[in-house]
Amino acid sequence: MIKLEHVSKTFSGQSEVHAVRDVSLEVAPGEIFGIIGYSGAGKSTLVRCINLLERPTEGTVTVDGVELTALAPRQLRAQRKKIAMIFQQFNLLMQRTCLDNVCFPLEIAGAKKEAARRRGMELLELVELGDKAGAYPVQLSGGQKQRVAIARALASDPKVLLCDEATSALDPQSTRAILRLIQKINRETGITVVIITHEMAVVEEICQRVAILDSGSLVETGRVEDIFSNPQTDAGRRLVYPDGVALEELPAANVVRVAFDGGSAYQPLVASLAIDCGVKVNILGADTRNIDGKAFGTMLLGLPQDPAEAARALAYLRGQPNVTVEEARDYHG
């Protein structure tokens, strides 16, 4: 549905800023795709390259089979109606009512007023704000504003929904509600969703695949569960384990990293280790997450000093399903 090929964006000015460097990626139809990175990593610029709010300095952008980078302004505007976008600051028209905001894209497209209002009301009902049709944005909470923005985004029946930090200005509860709504719309309409965020929690909540952006470059792309259970790059590890582990607090030897890669549920692994083979281990650090009901993440275990006990524990761990074990030498590397 979306295909970026060797996309770069350089801002020229007093000093050149390479906001996006040679990014290639593909998003499948109906997918919820996350792009994650720290602030300043170039996420917002990258997502704006998808609808050409920022024109890439190099590379091509193709959405729904149309190469946007090759289009004239008028044709580009027609294509943009298929690519909706929601923003961190909602960007509603403050002098229009909620209903008029939702009707705005229809008005732009030249729809009949009656039909537009009917469709607008349907969409407001969909986002559960039918009773706010006549209210002005200033009267709404942040979560409600984003719902109106979503309804507005859907008005032109888009094929793609771009979300630029859409939940970053919201409290955790509203964030969840908005993500649920996006997920529901994705399931019901098959719309392709791209989510830009700096919050790992957002990605793990609804994304199927994720790309990690670091200083403008794509450093890792893959299924969310793979990247969560086993990030390959420094940037990936920093995002997955934001608090990190203070290395010097760990013992130098006998540390293993146990990775849960999607066993059907958490097993009380440490307890069963103690009961089944009588070995006590220290949990030095753990970061596990529940993704779609499956356990993902890693745990750092300190094995006993006694080599025989350590070997027994290691063998036991290696025998567990859905768990991989490796010696964590690199923690002091």
Partner: protein
């Protein structure tokens, strides 16, 4: 002082003065309303060009055009009104056939006020939320639609305030125009007051101008506030 009071009494006792003041009010109101309406439209168009045609605007125009536009506006703004009026009076002669009177003062008022209004409105339009414009672009709005459906409606309260300020400024200019042949309360103050050493007439004419300004400001302020949907 005694003279002043006897003049004051005379003003309220003689119908001649009353008629003079009523005429003055009418001429001032008339020339100010017409000039403001036309100058505001011109200024609005110029302001939209300045904002939209900027190199970061929604439809950048060639730099030479923008430079010229800016320079012309700056020059017109920096010439003192009375002098500008003298320059523009031939235009009045051409347009309305006379250099004297209320109607003759309207073209100079427009030429003087339009660039001022352009800058005033430009400032307001530039304050349109960038994010909202970006959202409109993302929806596929054309530059014209962005101006017509986003910038102007979103700035409506600020535009009403600009209109009020423009109205009051033109009212002041119009009073000045009275000194060199324009009509209105300015003429009354100068011709019947200052030139005839009748300071009571001058004072009354001035007070009337102040009252007109107050009324304009109150109405403008009320309308701007009522139009702003962010204040609920």
């Amino acid at each position: 002082m005694d003279k002043f009071f006897s003049q004051m009494t005379e003003i309220f006792a003689t119908p001649k003065y009353l008629g003079e003041f009523l005429d003055g009010i009418w001429e001032t109101a008339y020339s100010t309303v017409v000039s403001t309406a036309v100058a505001f439209l011109l200024g609005l168009v110029l302001a939209v060009l300045l904002v939209v045609g900027d190199k970061d605007g929604v439809r950048p125009l060639p730099t030479p055009i923008m430079k010229t536009l800016n320079i012309v506006i700056n020059i017109l703004r920096s010439v003192p009104f009375l002098i500008l009026m003298l320059f523009v009076l031939p235009l009045s002669k051409l347009l309305v056939g006379t250099r004297i009177g209320t109607v003759a003062s309207i073209p100079p008022l427009i030429v003087a006020a339009a660039p001022f209004i352009a800058r005033l409105v430009e400032t307001s339009l530039r304050e349109t939320d960038r994010g909202v414009i970006e959202a409109a672009q993302a929806m596929g709005c054309s530059p014209f639609q962005i101006v017509w459906k986003v910038m102007l409606p979103e700035c409506r309260p600020a535009l009403i305030s600009c209109f009020t300020t423009a109205f009051i400024t033109i009212l002041g200019y119009g009073a000045m125009a009275g000194a060199i042949g324009g009509g209105g309360l300015g003429k009354t103050a100068i011709n019947y007051g200052y030139n005839k050493y009748n300071y009571a007439v001058m004072l009354v004419a001035t007070v009337l101008i102040v009252i007109l300004v107050q009324i304009a400001q109150s109405i403008g302020g009320y309308l701007a506030k009522r139009a702003d949907k962010r204040l609920r």
